[in-house]
């Protein structure tokens, strides 16, 4: 039971990451590597402010830190005309030093015996078990973020962002500042990612500088799994499907680590390979489909074998 609850907690929490990746990858059409740095940025900022005794402000500050990282990548892309992927790598690389600086030079800090949002809510609702109250906090947080982001993409600004990812020429011709729109959307995307990092620090009661690495692939896997179930539809459906995709991904990972990976394999170290394989296969489905269709046509043609 606690295994299921644990998977749900992580799955819904990483839904925040998936929402962020959905914005950058599906709406803006950019695989944004800033994610790797901004996730850790949110985590470190949140951990240090939590230790200082402000757990709620820590979550907000972590989120804003991610937005700032997004703004920097956005400015590098739009104003300095750097390729989006390279711009993301630059920000990510720079953030590694910043994150170390935020954590005062140590590569990990512990939040054990520190007041967190989770311990606070637990004390407030003593009738819930620990796992249930933690799940409740995570669901509320993700739901609020999902509703806010979904509403945001229904505004004029949100519509401009969607159009900018879809047809930049047209947006330029319709008097919208494309550069500003891109910067804002990267900020929103990385704010979601960093919010995930911020709450994760309090959830696991420690922060490690390397937590952010591989997050882009985790997010992509979640978005793609979600789309396998819901298809590619509007933004609101996309956001919901990203969160559900993240939950399914986490359940798959839990099952794999629990039952399929024997103790002789260092279980956690295989997770990244598994994620990479899932994303690799999912992204090649269109190519595989067309190759298969061509093969069938060849076979079925008048001169077919």
């Amino acid at each position: 039971m606690s295994l299921v609850l644990g998977a749900l907690q992580l799955g819904v929490m990483y839904g925040l990451l998936a929402i962020g990746i959905f914005i950058s990858f599906r709406i803006l059409n950019i695989p944004d590597l800033t994610t790797e740095g901004s996730f850790g940025f949110g985590l470190c900022v949140s951990a240090m402010i939590t230790i200082a005794g402000h757990p709620y402000f820590a979550v907000l500050a972590g989120c804003l830190a991610g937005a700032l990282a997004g703004v920097i990548t956005g400015l590098l892309t739009t104003k300095c005309k750097i390729h989006p992927i390279l711009a993301g790598i630059l920000t990510m690389t720079g953030l590694y030093s910043i994150n170390l600086f935020v954590m005062k030079g140590s590569s990990n800090v512990s939040l054990i015996n520190t007041d967190t949002v989770f311990s606070d809510i637990r004390a407030l609702l003593p009738f819930l078990s620990k796992d249930v109250s933690r799940l409740a906090v995570i669901i509320v947080l993700t739901a609020v973020a999902a509703v806010l982001v979904a509403a945001f993409f229904k505004t004029r600004l949100g519509l401009s962002i969607r159009a900018a990812g879809d047809n930049e020429t047209m947006v330029r011709a319709s008097s919208i500042n494309v550069d500003r729109v891109k910067v804002i959307s990267l900020a929103v995307s990385n704010a979601c990612v960093a919010l995930n990092g911020a709450i994760l620090a309090q959830y696991q009661d420690y922060a490690d500088i390397s937590t952010g690495s591989g997050m882009l692939i985790v997010g992509l896997a979640s978005v793609i799994i979600g789309e396998a179930f819901f298809g590619k539809r509007g933004v609101t459906v996309g956001i919901i499907s990203a969160v559900i995709g993240s939950t399914i991904y986490r359940i798959i990972i839990t099952v794999i680590t629990k039952y399929l990976i024997t103790s002789s394999m260092a279980s956690a170290s295989w997770l990244k390979l598994i994620s990479a394989v899932i994303v690799g296969i999912a992204l090649s489905i269109p190519a595989i489909k067309s190759a298969f269709a061509k093969f069938k046509m060849k076979k079925g043609g008048p001169f077919g074998a």
Binding site: T155, D166, R172, A173, S174
Partner: protein, 269 residues
């Protein structure tokens, strides 16, 4: 209204591919005029539009719109008062957004309330009445993604997007050239209606000399980045197509290829 003074633009300067796209070009368009532009491929027609829209900065000269110097204004700021329809129907609309979302984008474009909801019942009602006028049944497909429409339907949506908030200047860049003849006539008809009912100042590039002479109030002909012919009023009304072609070949030393509406050097024939 629109005034270009001695505008020049050279591409790939100081390379073997140097190309003078606009050569000391001056043009003044009065409010309410409907100018048609003809000329061979590479005459500088689209470059002229790009200069007016601010796609690039010109090398020399000045551009004025409504007595305001817009020579150095960035493109998206000019777009608030200039509407532009491209030849390629894919360029003017966002394929993954619905018809009503595309229209909402244009309807809201540039005004300050970026965080208001883009679609409200009043706006949707306006889109529906405007689309009904086209008689293409688009008013019943407002929630359809634009990517699923035909080229002509997309071009109709683009036209409405460019004019739903009437622009000071409407630029049409061979906007019917990629369509089949029937659809091309239909879009032309819609264009005339919109221009007339909003009394829009319009410049239209076309390869179709018939369209050029039958539409609008003034026709200019371009060659090698210059305006070589500028006719309006009675002179234009009386001019036959063959007279126009004769004038053209006199002034540019080329002849119009009637079949393909392309131009070839006279010496090559």
């Amino acid at each position: 209204m629109l005034k270009l003074e001695s505008v020049s633009k050279t591409f790939s300067k100081d390379t073997p591919n140097e190309h003078k796209a606009l050569d000391n070009l001056s043009l003044a368009v009065d409010s309410g005029e409907f100018v048609t532009v003809v000329g061979s491929n590479g005459a500088g027609k689209s470059t002229l539009f790009n200069a007016i829209c601010g796609t690039f900065m010109v090398d020399a000269g000045a551009i004025m719109l409504d007595n305001k110097d817009i020579t150095y204004l960035p493109d998206f700021k000019r777009a608030r008062v200039i509407g532009r329809v491209f030849q390629d129907p894919m360029k003017g609309t966002a394929p993954n957004l619905t018809i009503e979302e595309n229209l909402a984008l244009a309807y809201s474009g540039g005004n300050g309330r970026m965080l208001g909801f883009a679609l409200n019942s009043k706006a949707v009602e306006k889109f529906r009445t405007e689309l009904e006028k086209f008689g293409m049944g688009l008013e019943n497909r407002m929630k359809t993604k634009v990517g699923l429409l035909s080229g002509g339907q997309r071009q109709a949506v683009t036209l409405l997007m460019c004019t739903i908030v009437p622009p000071r200047l409407l630029l049409l860049d061979e906007h019917t050239a990629a369509l089949d003849p029937a659809m091309s006539d239909k879009i032309m008809e819609i264009t005339k209606d919109i221009v007339k009912s909003n009394n829009l100042t319009t410049i239209m590039i076309t390869h179709n000399l018939n369209f050029a002479m039958r539409t609008g109030t003034r026709t200019i002909m371009m060659d090698s980045g210059k305006i070589i012919l500028d006719i309006s009023g009675e002179e234009r009304d009386k001019m036959s197509l063959s007279e126009l072609l004769e004038l053209y070949s006199q002034r540019s030393d080329k002849v119009f290829d009637n079949d393909r509406m392309l131009l070839t050097k006279r010496t090559e024939i």
